[in-house]
């Protein structure tokens, strides 16, 4: 249970929970993408991109953004800085 859940569950603000739950449900309803599918997309992206550049797998963020009624898949992939890159 996350800290935010601990703060809200069983407390009065049930509307907060309703909104959080709806947000997640609507993303899934609108896109037909499950969290597992997003995880697979992430892994495939990782594989393709690392064929060309060095990336930090732990820093990759893939999330669903809502803009109006449009769902957007946003990938944030930091490249390893060239200063740290080893010269071969």
């Amino acid at each position: 249970m996350s800290w935010i859940e601990r703060l809200t569950v069983g407390k009065e603000a049930s509307a907060v929970r309703a909104k959080e739950r709806l947000k997640l449900v609507l993303i899934h309803d609108r896109t037909d993408l499950s969290p597992e599918t997003i995880e697979s997309i992430k892994n495939d992206l990782l594989e393709v991109i690392s064929r060309y550049v060095e990336i930090d797998a732990g820093e990759i963020k893939i999330r669903m953004n809502q803009e109006g009624r449009e769902q957007r898949l946003v990938a944030d992939i930091p490249l390893k800085s060239s200063a740290r890159r080893r010269v071969r």
Binding site: E12, A15, A18, K19, L26, D29, R30, R69
Partner: protein, 266 residues
């Protein structure tokens, strides 16, 4: 005259589509507009009882489509408001007895004579819903501030967009201001943020709606109740008037205020 066709839909059942259709029709007709309502919920008709016209049905929408009567013969004229008519649904048939193109044709025949054609959609996303939105110029989605109703509203809004009938506008029905204040009911801002569509009105939860429906006298007939006023405001917005969204700012009467003082004091 060229009517605007408004379809009232929701996805989920029981959120107040029929009540909304009846009250918007009454409010528009009371303002001198010529209005015809069509009940598209074939097999489960109810707009007739909510409007209090159930005893006067002879023909219905399926009779029109199948040529058993002329359009005029199926139109029931309201006795309270001279410019309000109802075309009832058939009760012993199903949704497949009418097609989307039948609905478009019936509405086209009515357009010249009316200012507004109000279509009460059945719940669901199947044939009945498709029939109801086929002739629509404007689609109003009714929802309640609860998770199941909001989720279904989102689905139906997507389908309306896919049918190129959007953008739909939202009516948030049965809002309880006290519960919103306590944080136990989704606030209108929350619902709007989730659904990302325009709001055309908020209807507060109001016992007057049940009382009015029991009598077959829609609450918007006399605009004294809070819900009745809210429906009248939506009707004015449909006509293009600017009306502030102040439905939730309740002005408690003296008794109400006193009891609140005592409660907070005790």
């Amino acid at each position: 005259m060229a009517a605007t066709v408004i379809t009232i839909t929701s996805g989920k059942g029981g959120v107040g589509k029929t009540t909304t259709t009846a009250n918007l029709a009454v409010a528009l007709a009371a303002g001198g507009q010529k209005v015809v309502c069509i009940d598209a919920d074939i097999g489960l008709r109810n707009l007739d009882v909510v409007l209090g016209l159930e005893n006067r049905i002879v023909y219905d929408i399926v009779d029109i489509v199948e040529g058993r009567c002329r359009l005029r013969q199926a139109m029931i004229r309201d006795k309270r408001l001279a410019e309000l008519y109802l075309i009832p649904a058939a009760q012993t048939r199903d949704k497949s007895s009418v097609s989307p193109s039948d609905m478009v044709r019936v509405c086209d025949d009515l357009r010249e004579e009316f200012d507004w054609i109000m279509i009460d959609s059945p719940a669901g996303i199947e044939r009945g819903f498709r029939n109801a939105i086929a002739p629509a110029d404007i689609v109003l989605v009714v929802t309640n501030p609860e998770v199941s109703a909001v989720r279904d509203a989102d689905r139906i809004i997507g389908l309306i967009e896919a049918e190129e009938k959007g953008p739909a506008q939202l009516i948030l029905n049965r809002v309880n201001p006290e519960m919103v204040r306590r944080g136990d009911m989704l606030a209108p801002e929350d619902v709007l943020e989730l659904l990302a569509i325009n709001l055309i009105g908020i209807i507060p939860e109001d016992e007057a709606v049940m009382v009015a429906t029991n009598r077959g006298q829609p609450v918007a007939l006399d605009g004294k109740s809070r819900a009745g006023k809210a429906f009248q405001n939506i009707a004015r917005r449909l006509k293009g008037e600017e009306v502030a969204m102040d439905e939730l700012e309740e002005k408690p009467d003296l008794l109400h205020r006193l009891s609140r003082v005592f409660r907070s004091g005790g």
